[in-house]
Every structure is written in C-alpha cells, then in structure tokens.
Symmetry: C2
Subunit: 369 residues, 2 copies
DNA sequence: CTGTTAGCGCATTCAT
DNA sequence: ATGAATGCGCTAACAG
C-alpha cells in the first residue's frame, strides 16, 4: 500500500537502520548517504508511519484540546489558534468536546491517553481532579480558563477578578447604582472570580451588595433568560445588567427583545467575552474581553515548553493570568446621578486600547475590604 | 507505565494470544476464559494500546473532519454533531481547519493519511481533486457541503438551488422587484448553485436578471461589506438583499449599521445559514436554513457505512441532498407594488414574534421612548 | 559511520 | 480451545 522505510533502504542498498538514521536527521550518518537517502525517499514518496514510530517511541504527534463546546466564541478562537500553532510544529490537534460534563470529560480523557497523546490542553470541569492528576504523570497537561482545584497543574487563566471589576466599575462610573449580575456557577473558577470582581467594585464605590441583583447559574442561554426576567421583574429593577456568563448572553438578549426594552436607553448592557457580531449588533454591545486569543497562545507556549522539557518533573507548575480589557461600544449609557453630590463622578477612564493591568487582581488597586 | 496485554495474560496464566482473543471477543475462546480474562483485565486496569493495535491492523480509530473554519455556524454544529456521533461508536475525531486554502488542505490531507485515519469527512476546497481521489483508495471519504468536481466521491450537499430559490421567491412574493444577491465564489458548488436558484426564481417571476445586483466573492466578511456598499450606492438600489454567502453576513450588517439603514423598513434582509443569535437580533433575521445538523448526520451515516463495507469498491458512490427551509423572522417586509393595481400593499406582514423596534434609523442616540 | 539484533504491544497465522 | 511463532514499521542498543 505505501512505501516503507525498508523499501527506501533496499532502493539505496543500505540497512533500514541507516535509512532511519539518515532520514530522522540524527547526524549520525555521513553527509553523502544522508542526502542520498533523503533524495531516494522523496523519489519513492516515502512517508514515515507515525503509528509504527509511535509504538517505538511512545509518542503520537497528537495533542488534544478538550473544551466544553464550540458555541462559546472563546473556545472557537482557542481551537483555531491551537490548531494553527500546533500544526506549525508538526502536531495534529485532537479536538474534543466534553459538554462541561464530568462523565464525558472522564471518558474522553481516558480515550485520549489511550491514543498516547503527547500533550493536552483542557478546560476542566473541575470534577475529575484525581484523574487529571494521575494523567499528568504520563503526559504534559495545561489547564485553561478554569482551574481544577484538586490538582496542581499548570494553569492559564483569564484575569476574571480584574475583568469583572473593570466592567462593574465602568457601569458604576456611568452612574449606575443598581447593577444586575448574571454570572456562572459558583463551583467554577470564573464564576467565583467574576462575582468577586463585581463585589469589589461595588464595595469600592460604597455601594451595598444586593443579593437580589445577583444570579449565578449554569452556562446555558436559559440561565440568562430566567435571570434576566427576574431582574427586570424586581420592584426596583437594575439600571444596568452585567452578563458575566457568556453562554447566558443569548438568553438575556432574547428577553430584552421580547420585552422590547431599549438598550441602552432603558437598560445598560455589558457582556463578558467578545463575539464577532457584538460589534455589529444594534446597539453594538460593550464587553469585557477575556483575551481568548492570548490565552490560547500562552497555553500552547506552556504546553510546548513542558513537552520539550519532559522528564523534568512537574516542578515549574505555575499559574498564569492574561489581563482583561474593557471594550466600550454602545450598549451602556450614562445615567442621571439622582443622588447627593452633583459633581459628575470622574470622566470615564476609557482606556482606548490594550493595557495589561496588574494581574495580581486584588492587591493592586485599593486595599479595600 | 501502563498494563499491557502481556501483563493480563500472565496474571491469568494464559498466553497472550488467548488473552487477545478473549478480550477482542472473537468468540474463539471458551466462555469461561472469556469472562475470566475480561474480569482480570478490568481489575488490572488494562487498556488496549490503539497504537500497537493499529500497527497490526492498519486502523487507528481516528476519523478526521476537515473544515474551512470554526466561525461558520454550520461548521460548528457539524463538528459537534460529528464528534458526538463518532464517539458513540468508538472513534475519536480529528478536527482540522483548512482555511479554504488549497495548500493547507493538501498538507493536512497527507498528514491525516500518515496518521492512518479510518475515515474522512471533508469540505473540499475543490483544488485538490487529484489528491483526494488518490486518498480515496486507501480510506473512506465523504465530501460535505461542496463537491470536488475532479473526483467522484460520495458527497452530501445542501440543496442550495432549492434554498436560494425559496429565499428569492419569498422576497419576490413580498413585492421586491430588485433583489440584491451577495453570493460565494463561483468556483464552488454552493456559489454556483445559489446563484442559479436566485436566477430561476427571478426568471419564473418574469423579472429580468440585473447583473449589477449580483456580487460573488470570497467567503469573508469583507466581501459582504464591499458588495453591500456597491449595492446601496447603485442609482437604483435594491429593496432587498439576499446574503447567500454566510461568511459575508457580518460585513453586510456592518454596513447597514454604519449607514444607519433600517431593516426591514428601508431594506429587507435575508441571510443564508442560521446562527443562534440571528433570532435575537433586532430585527430577528430571516434565513434560509441549510440543515447543517442533518447534513452532518447524513455524512456520518454515509461514512460509517462505507467504513463498514470496506473492500467493497467505490461503487455505491452517490450524491445526497438535504433540503433547505425558509425561516421567516422579521427582517423582510412586504413592499408596495408600485405598479398597476392600486390596492394598498397590505400592512407589513410582521410576524407575531417580537416587537418592532423604533424603526427609523436614528435609534442609537436621540431622544428615546 | 554502518549493519545486526531486538523489541514496542498487539492480532493472527500455524500448529497442537 | 489454546500456545507458539511471526511480523506490522520503525528506532535504538549493540557491535563492528
């Protein structure tokens, strides 16, 4: 069916081992045979068989990415970035979709190691820590976006405390006193951290935290719809809603459309994680950008690094943060400050573009309570 | 590192071959040893090594999907559907992104066969027909969404002629005489077929085809923006635009937003291929649904079938079509028939759904409520 | 620098 | 029904 190393060796009248050495470029062959073999191999259309090679070397040239879905825009760009980066260094990407489900994640993980993947980037559900920990002994693993607290794996996170803080502060600076928050499950890193950023911004502004304005739930559109309805039905509904649960966004937009609410006139809306069309929506939706592309790149960098330095125990385990950015568009408006001081609350900080901010989340700004 | 078949055999005090036979369930072993081995294997946590097995059998339990990108909503659902279906029957999906680029496609294809994939579903660029044809001898292939005319591979297509026809006819029935068309490159199946459907609907209605209303281009947002601008700048601009190039949609929406054009009051808009948020956009965008989910399912069915019936030459090669559907939402409106009969053009057919937004352009700022 | 020898883990032939 | 032997294609000792 296909030409093997043996064929090449025969054609060149050398042993297979010589052929192998010459073609794998181990510099253990004479320059001449090296080139000769290379030529012959090319002429014959020889393609090394990764399966056979893998059986021997224990490697597969396969790297897996395990995400929850492909609907989330962040996961899309992560997948694309990873695929491109990995291909450039000779790896094939195995994309798996776990649905944020513990069982599926577990099954997929074992299937992946069965296939002897050389590396893994995973957005963990957080419910298979033990398994992940065990696997980490055999294959380099980098966690992405979420931390699995039961492990001590290298992890690349978005700076969610900062992002949520920036977003909330922005709304507060626009004059909003009652900011509704729709956030993810509190048993996830991002869910907790975004809530904490929100709370911090409120505290810092001296605004009491009103629990009725906070809705935490599963990462699905329905969460957004339900939560949004409840917020709007409040005796004193919020003047702004911060949707920090990306998957919930669609649900929120749906309710807003259903009730014919004008954004930003009747309600300011701020979302988390960009999507290509947010910019073209009317009004264009302001967002907190989590830096999906940079997250992916960093994760790949770390993974590649670990893959190279295999054998080097899991010492260097470290946690990384990629800064968040506020991207102002047209879905948030300034509202009248119906309170005491007439002075306008500082001009918007509107930092036009990028800006790594101190990633140390909390300590940086103000030592509030 | 991991427990091998040999370990299991030893623990059971049988030969590896017996162990192999028992565990692969070839019914060539006594019922008793069969169960005994199964139990022992489980106790030991034995997991067959697909690499080793693959080397022997020539199979990998890997199936690849090669698409252009992950931005296209259709590709997203196809990837998710495929992954789920394949996993259910014990295959891992290798997702590759070719960027609709001939070179990348070619590279990827060779990498995939190197890895001895057991099957391939590909959205072909159409520029590597020869290669695909050659590969088809070694591995079952199903083309999806596009046909590669240089091959005679089994192909699962959307019914684009029908879809474009339905969409165009819908607009015509609403009274539109000048319907702009933004469509894909004419060297692709879908590009040609959608154009043909458009033309047919026009002809059928006795409306002359105006070339200045037709823009064919690459599958990128920019195409939509450019084309849309040209259409709007026409001396006699169209009253409706049919965006039959999915990737171009964003560009069109952008121009519409930039110019502050009211849809559907100033312009009716019909798009091709659904996206989750189309429904929540304001106005909700009417579309022609290409049936991505069904396309994927059918493609998987066909592939699995071919994979089973391997050896059976490439006889059964056939072409399948998945019907398109028109999904009416709020972005198309009936317009006055500026001709003969005076009858007033009926009130806007505005479907029950959501409410009309403050139609007139000025939406963003201005006084509200 | 090169050829010889040995497996990697498994499925499968051939014996028994 | 089971064991022994063979080889898939390749890499890596181990000699020369």
């Amino acid at each position: 069916m296909s030409v093997t190393l043996k064929d090449v060796a025969q054609a060149a009248r050398v042993s297979v081992s010589t052929a192998s050495r010459a073609l794998t470029g181990t510099g253990l062959t004479s320059e001449r045979t090296q080139q000769r073999l290379t030529r012959i191999a090319r002429e014959l259309g020889y393609r090394p068989n990764p399966i056979a090679r893998g059986l021997k070397t224990g490697q597969s040239r396969l790297v897996a990415l395990l995400v929850h879905n492909l609907t989330n825009a962040s996961f899309q760009v992560m997948a694309e970035v990873m695929q491109a980066r990995l291909k450039a260094v000779g790896y094939q990407m195995l994309l798996c979709i776990g649905g944020d489900d513990a069982q599926q994640e577990s099954d997929t993980l074992t299937a992946l190691v069965d296939h002897r993947i050389d590396g893994l980037i995973v957005v963990p559900t957080g419910k298979n820590g033990a398994q992940l920990k065990a696997l980490a002994k055999d294959v380099p693993i980098v966690c992405l976006v979420r931390r699995d607290d039961a492990t001590d794996l290298e992890t690349v996170l978005a700076d969610d405390p900062q992002g949520a803080y920036l977003g909330t502060r922005h709304l507060i600076e626009l004059g909003h006193k009652r900011v509704g928050l729709i956030v993810g499950r509190q048993d996830t890193t991002s869910g907790r951290e975004r809530l904490s950023g929100y709370v911090r911004a409120l505290r810092e502004a001296g605004i009491p935290v009103d629990d009725t304005l906070i809705h935490a739930g599963h990462f699905v559109p329905e969460t957004g719809a339900t939560s949004c309805r409840k917020l709007l039905d409040l005796p004193r509904p919020p003047s702004a809603i911060f949707v920090a649960n990306h998957e919930a966004t669609l649900g929120v937009l749906r309710v807003i459309a259903e009730r014919n609410i004008a954004v930003p006139d009747d309600l300011s809306l701020l979302c988390y994680e960009d999507m290509p069309w947010f910019e073209w929506h009317r009004p264009a939706i302001s967002i907190v950008d989590n830096g999906a592309r940079d997250l992916a790149n960093l994760a790949v960098d770390r993974l590649l690094q670990r893959m190279d330095a295999k054998g080097t125990g899991n010492d260097g385990v470290r946690e990384y943060r990629v800064g968040a950015r506020l991207v102002q568009r047209d879905s948030c408006r300034r509202i009248e400050v119906a309170s005491t001081r007439a002075g306008k609350p500082k001009p918007s900080i509107a930092k036009p573009s990028a800006a790594k901010s101190p990633s140390k989340s909390s300590a940086a700004k103000s030592a509030k309570v």
